[in-house]
Assembly symmetry: C2
Homo-oligomer: 134 residues x 2
């Protein structure tokens, strides 16, 4: 089921400062901040040779990362996203094995314009896993 690691997402309190740190201190290629109001985040991609790190800053009142940052004010690694070939087949197989899919189980269109689902971190060693149909 698991394909490529699409990205690792880090919630940050100040995306301009974080982005500048990855660019100058860590010598990485970073994209310009992009506001995604429908996802409640502003995102910067740190482009790596084999995958990417995504920096996320909360945007708006109902940001899905606001609670995480309230608990972790300095920021922290928020989730890992793996690619899958068929998100519905993956969902059904996960449910059949007893793993919990968050929300109503209907894939949403994620920040990359592709269908995504999130799995319950309590079922995976405290790790929030996103699946994206590649």
């Amino acid at each position: 089921m698991l394909g490529r690691l699409n990205h690792v997402a880090i919630a940050v309190p100040d995306i301009a400062a974080a982005s500048e740190r990855y660019r100058t201190v860590l010598g990485a290629t970073v994209t310009a901040p992009e506001a995604l109001p429908e996802h409640g985040v502003t995102v910067v991609f740190v482009e790596l040779a084999n995958t990417k790190t995504e920096l996320l800053e909360p945007l708006g009142k109902d940001s899905p990362i606001a609670a995480f940052l309230a608990k972790n004010p300095s920021g922290g690694i928020h989730h890992m996203c793996y690619e899958v070939e068929d998100i519905i087949a993956s969902r059904d197989a996960l449910r059949a094995s007893g793993a919990r899919v968050l929300g109503d189980g209907q894939p949403r269109i994620g920040a990359h314009g592709k269908p995504v689902l999130f799995l319950h971190p309590k079922d995976f060693d405290g790790t929030l896993i996103e699946l994206e149909q590649a």
Copy 2:
């Protein structure tokens, strides 16, 4: 400076159970558990198409992940490891920019037999970053 994402490490309380979950529930290829007493961990590699996820269980009295698991008993994402070409040059550049390298700043031989350093998570949005000379 940042090259490939070498791995993402997840601290887990029960590596046999976690490994089995990645193999059966997530359909991933996992290696057999390997005890690394000199590093204070038992490790399983989840082999992905472009990188790997490493599952780490504490081993022995002085495990470097024991405190993390005491705070996060269910487990959680512990660190991200990026490859660099020259770890001494990277260390010196990081220090010159004010970032803190953990320990005495001398690279240690990491779990893959290559020189590694860790950067202070407070300097990188709560993210523990490992650098490995590839």
